[in-house]
Amino acid sequence: MSLQAVLPDTISGLLGLEGVLGDVVGGLVGAFLVANIMLIMTAFAGPWAKRKITAAFGDRIAVNRIGPFGLLTIVTDAVRLLSKELIVPEGVDRPAWDLAPMVIPFSALLGFAVIPMGNGIQLADPETGLAFAFAAASIASLGIVMTGYASNNKFSLIGALRAVAANIAYEIPLVITAASVVIFAGSLRMSEIVAVQAEPLLSVAGVTIPTWFAFVNPFAFALFVIANLAEVGRNPFDIPEAPTEIVAGYQTEYSSVYFVLIYLGEFIHIFLGGAIAATLFLGGPAGPVLPGFVWFTIKIWAFFLFTQWARSAVPRLRVDQFLEIGWKGMLVLSFANLVLTAIIVGVIA
């Protein structure tokens, strides 16, 4: 069915289980593993790496008191945040307000189900894998709308509306740019997209450069990264949060556990954005010497680093400018890219 056995099958094989039971156990254990990998990564990224990186850009030292390199801050922060009082403001719309902090991180986690992370770590490899990943990632917007509407706070509302506007404006260029890759690869299946990129593009002095689509079509890669920044709401496109303008945007009213969940969701979302970009343009888990999973991790962290770097030096756009770039710039360019790719592929093939 796929080029490589997916993770649940491997697990059920290892356990010697078959049939429905094998599927269920394998699926659950696999999902548990993948989710935990991502949660551990965000745990590093959120309370620790982000601070360290920001500090490095700003000539500061940052967390270094607790544990080696301040790593145990992660633990203390977790305890601190979880033990805070959960403040429920008056007039919030209860079920929606409680649901939203769950929708946001879980939708992002869901997207990882179809990402091949190397070394056979992939939960499922459906034919529509790419479409699934985008669809899952977009559910987060639903969660954001819920927070904005349910919080009974005007800043939240504005933040949520901005998030929706951003999502609509940049989701289309994002998907269209991805479609140009699909034309190259001829498949929506993630594993096949990765496999196609493994072929050599050209050899220079004994070094073989693979057909990573970032090399084949750097323009599309740039478009994708920009749209992706907007999609995950990072600088210069962090308008749904926009701390100096609308306080904290859609998450203004959240505290304690709920805040942790939303915060977590944001980071997983960044990693998912990085993962999709890596899969589509950077050969997924491919890379020399090191095992695939390590390469995959390096690639998504590189994307995370990039978002932090942009944060240190790029001002935020105003909301109207932001939408203008989305509709008048990115949309047109992404369609141009798609048509060009289609023509080139059509002529060559």
């Binding site: 990186i53 850009f57 700003g58 000539d59 500061r60 030292i61 770097w309 240190s312 030096a313 790029v314």
Partner: protein, 153 residues
């Protein structure tokens, strides 16, 4: 686009050169100028109870209690209310009240900051430096009296 890249290059340069501007307090105790004004130190041996410091203090931080023979009994100073203007040190004719460089003081409540003369006497010098010498040279310039009669009280 060039401008954005330039900005990103600048921050990257700072990130990579590994220099930091902040220090790890308290492991690295900051350098404090000799003139820096911190918590007061009071010397009862020197004080002549002239009450000039009490009079000059702009916000009534100093409270002096004397007996009926004008001998000093109490000298209280609210270091949490003080604005560290150093006027008391300046007017004191005998250097009995002096602002050390010590800026590290804590208390559980505001009232704990009301120091009596014993507490004031025990305020430690910051890094064992008595800053008096670095401050003295210009005292005379400032304590000039003008043309009219001197009125100490």
């Amino acid at each position: 686009m060039i401008g954005i890249l330039k900005g990103m290059a600048v921050t990257l340069k700072h990130a990579l050169d590994g220099q930091t501007f902040t220090v790890e307090y308290p492991e690295t105790a900051p350098e404090v100028s000799p003139r820096f004004r911190g918590v007061h130190k009071f010397s009862q041996e020197r004080c002549i109870w002239c009450r000039q410091c009490e009079n000059v203090c702009p916000n009534d931080t100093i409270q002096i209690v004397q007996d009926d023979k004008r001998n000093g009994e109490q000298y209280n100073l609210h270091i949490g209310q003080c604005i560290y203007c150093r006027l008391c040190e300046e007017v004191c004719p005998v250097d009995a009240i002096l602002l050390t460089q010590n800026f590290e003081f804590t208390a559980d409540t505001k009232n704990d900051f009301v120091y009596n003369k014993e507490q004031l006497k025990n305020v430690p010098w910051y890094k064992d430096i008595d800053p008096l010498n670095s401050r003295n040279p210009d005292r005379n310039a400032w304590v000039g009296e003008g043309e009219g009669e001197v009125d100490y009280q």
